[in-house]
Symmetry: C2
Subunit: 202 residues, 2 copies
């Protein structure tokens, strides 16, 4: 209905989560009518992020550097690793403000139905980290499993605990102060802090 370039922009905007045809139309017209500078800036940011952002070589979180800010921070306790599904979960835990250890970001969870196995979410890399740390005489003492309390998140936590238990490390699961079926990134900081302090040995 609109001219080809505008129709194409509307269709491209649909890749954004939560954006249907009506929102895409509103966004495209808003940008073209009133904020071309913002649109061009967004185009550049998208391009730069797609080109530049990879994964932290240690914790697998999204970053354009070799190692992320947390992995690079010498004041964080390297003997504890908290395993989460996404970078948004790291942010939520950081905002709760009590956790001082490091992270391991799966960027997903086990999901046989979608063909996502242990190798796709970096489990071998996590086990390697354990072995390397031990070899360097700075062993990791605890792995805190903070995957989502969903079926897939629980299965992923269970799988990791089974793999890790051969490596002389305490494996714990955050407490169920987090409501079942909820997603970590939307939980308030107090609940998250409580969930951390109530963690039990897995």
């Amino acid at each position: 209905m609109f001219s080809p370039l505008i129709d194409e922009l509307m269709s491209s905007l649909r890749c954004l989560p939560g954006v249907g045809p009506k929102s895409a139309q509103r966004m495209a017209l808003h940008l073209l009518e009133r904020d071309r500078e913002g649109a061009e800036r967004l185009a550049q940011s998208l391009h730069k992020a797609v080109e530049g952002v990879g994964r932290c070589k240690s914790c697998r979180t999204l970053t354009e550097q070799d190692f992320c800010g947390i992995c690079n921070n010498a004041r964080r306790d390297s003997s504890i690793i908290c395993v989460v599904e996404t970078p948004a979960d790291v942010l939520a835990i950081e905002q709760a403000g009590t956790y001082q250890g490091k992270y391991f970001v799966l960027l997903g969870h086990l999901s046989p139905i979608d063909g996502i196995g242990p190798e796709d979410i970096g489990i071998d890399q996590l086990i390697n980290l354990l072995q390397q740390a031990t070899a360097n005489a700075e062993p990791i003492k605890e792995i805190i499993l903070a995957t989502n309390p969903t079926v897939e998140g629980e299965a992923t936590a269970y799988y990791i605990s089974e793999r890790a238990k051969h490596h002389n490390v305490l494996v714990s699961r955050i407490a169920h102060g987090v409501p079942l079926g909820g997603e970590l990134e939307f939980i308030d900081g107090g609940t998250l802090a409580h969930a951390f302090s109530s963690r039990r040995s897995f």
Copy 2:
């Protein structure tokens, strides 16, 4: 909190209407974790649209061509012009499916507070169209004012009617009242009052 390129992407996404910090975060992580192809396509579409999309030389709607599809359509009735505020209004009227004339798209409305005067919304160009049409012996017979029923839309409609009345053209305003299929109890008081004062004999 995230790495610089990711933070920049989140901030750039805020130029989209209705996108707050939480949505921007969700969008940025979704694209980087799961749809980099979509993100790159969106970057290209934004860039091409910003570079390529201008205004129809006749009706001022957004298009990358000299004249838009409707102005180029010889089967549309050139003797009637419907004046609307935005390209989205054109789409809504086209979808209603009964209007056969052409359009004039203000891309805005008069708003002295924001410094938007007649020249910013193309009123001189509209009056020129009237004069040109008369000079070409294909006079415009009617201008239908379909600006929004807001204070600014009404003021804009009134201003255009004052300017146009010196040019031997019928100027009309679309009817306002209770929408078809709407339920009275959910209609706001202003609309209801207007519907009563504009009632017609049955």
